[in-house]
């Protein structure tokens, strides 16, 4: 997205926010339609199971609706909603851990394991298959490592944006990125993916 598109996008958000603050639920519907696909994508990269993703996406927008008055424009609107989404991801991970449901469905140790398991279900094994493997490996990282890895490496957000969303300082982001990348690289290499 170029600068002009970003500005247009942000202006539309500002207009919608202004209408929603006046209690306009239709405007809120438009806001959900605009941001739901992207929010769902980033949440699904943090949580493995589809039903958890759906629940967190829904809760994200409900929280946006209830706390929209707290948004004071000090950061981009998208940064604010990503922060809400990721805080809810962390809450969800804690809840799943308490209920011991944070097990990911498959740990594809090697490319051969993966091919034997689900390769037939994907049309483009080199890309879609690898995406599933990386999501599965990311579930084995600590919460903080997974968070910075998803935002920085999968979503390709700049480090300073990651800091704004997570509230971590750059040092914490980078040290966690280092361990996350090291782990993912070693596993991908061991599995013959790279």
């Amino acid at each position: 997205m170029n600068n002009l598109q970003t500005t247009i996008h942000e202006n539309q958000d500002d207009k919608l926010v202004s209408l929603i603050r006046q209690g306009n639920a239709v405007a809120f519907g438009h806001l959900v339609e605009r941001h739901q696909p992207y929010i769902a994508r980033i949440v699904s990269r943090f949580l493995f199971r589809e039903e958890d993703t759906r629940e967190v996406v829904q809760d994200t927008f409900i929280r946006i609706w209830k706390h929209l008055d707290d948004y004071d424009g000090h950061c981009r609107f998208t940064t604010w909603i990503y922060t809400i989404a990721f805080n809810l991801c962390l809450d969800k991970t804690r809840a799943l851990k308490r209920r011991r449901e944070d097990r990911f469905p498959a740990d594809y140790e090697t490319r051969a394991d993966y091919q034997g398991d689900t390769m037939e279900q994907v049309s483009d094994p080199d890309q879609a298959g690898l995406g599933n493997v990386i999501r599965s490996l990311a579930q084995q990282l600590s919460k903080v490592q997974r968070l910075v890895f998803v935002l920085r490496d999968i979503q390709d957000l700049p480090v300073e944006e990651v800091c704004r969303i997570t509230g971590f300082d750059a040092g914490k982001v980078k040290s966690n990125l280092y361990y996350a990348r090291k782990f993912i690289r070693e596993k991908l290499e061991k599995g013959g993916y790279i």
Binding site: A25, F28, G29, V32, E33, Q36, P37, A40, R41, S44, R45, E50, T53, R54, V57, Q58, D59, F61, I62, R63, W65, K66, D91, Q121, V122, S123, D124, Q127, A128, L130, G131, N132, V133, I134, R135, S142, K143, V144, R152, D153, I154, D156, V159, F168, A170, K172, K174, S175, N176, L177, Y178, Y179, R181, K182, I184, R185, L188, E189, Y193, I194
Partner: protein
């Protein structure tokens, strides 16, 4: 610089936050070090794979229309809110945590002081690697292995530190045992 100092820089080079001097050190090092050159290639391959992978193939939720469902639930009480008892419990928990934290901090400082005294004495049975780690603990320069989720008590990510010892000292059971003892003494592990 040694390979172990260069390695984190290789992983972080894509973030564009290394100084020109650091970039130059890394470039010079990998020209002369086949191991780090291979690591650089592998890290680049990983970066590219992570960026290009398709994460949405088996995740139809991104394409689902959740708007009606969300709008229906807007005015329902949130699952985690509006429970007075929860708020009271949270306040009590905060009080307990605050008092535990103060007591832990005191004990942590005491342990550090004790450790500094003990570290003055050399133990000939320890390997060079463990001695080096002991010096790092002594000078509090072991933050690279801190578990961020335990700040400010600053417990150590034992898995990362153990991996470091295995890599740099060889797989040595007595080193791991000595390391564990050191961490407990330093109040950096439970």
């Amino acid at each position: 610089m040694k390979c172990r100092d260069i390695e984190p820089l290789i992983y972080l080079v894509r973030d564009g936050e290394l100084t020109e001097q650091e970039i130059s050190i890394v470039s010079e090092h990998i020209q002369n070090c086949p191991r780090c050159r291979e690591l650089t290639r592998s890290v680049k391959a990983m970066t590219s794979a992570v960026l290009k992978a398709d994460y949405d193939k088996d995740m139809p939720v991104a394409e689902e229309i959740l708007t009606p469902r969300i709008l229906q639930n807007l005015n329902k009480p949130s699952r985690s809110y509006n429970f007075v008892m929860v708020k009271v419990a949270a306040a009590c928990l905060l009080l307990i945590l605050a008092s535990t934290f103060i007591s832990q901090e005191r004990s942590f400082s005491r342990n550090r002081t004790d450790l500094q005294t003990r570290l003055q004495q050399e133990d000939p049975g320890l390997s060079d690697c463990i001695r080096e780690l002991r010096r790092k603990i002594h000078y509090h320069s072991i933050a690279a292995f801190a578990r961020p989720d335990t700040l400010p008590v600053n417990l150590i990510n034992e898995e990362a530190l153990t991996a470091y010892v295995r890599e740099n000292c060889g797989y040595n059971a007595s080193d791991i045992k000595a390391l564990k003892k050191l961490l407990i003494q330093a109040g950096l592990s439970n």
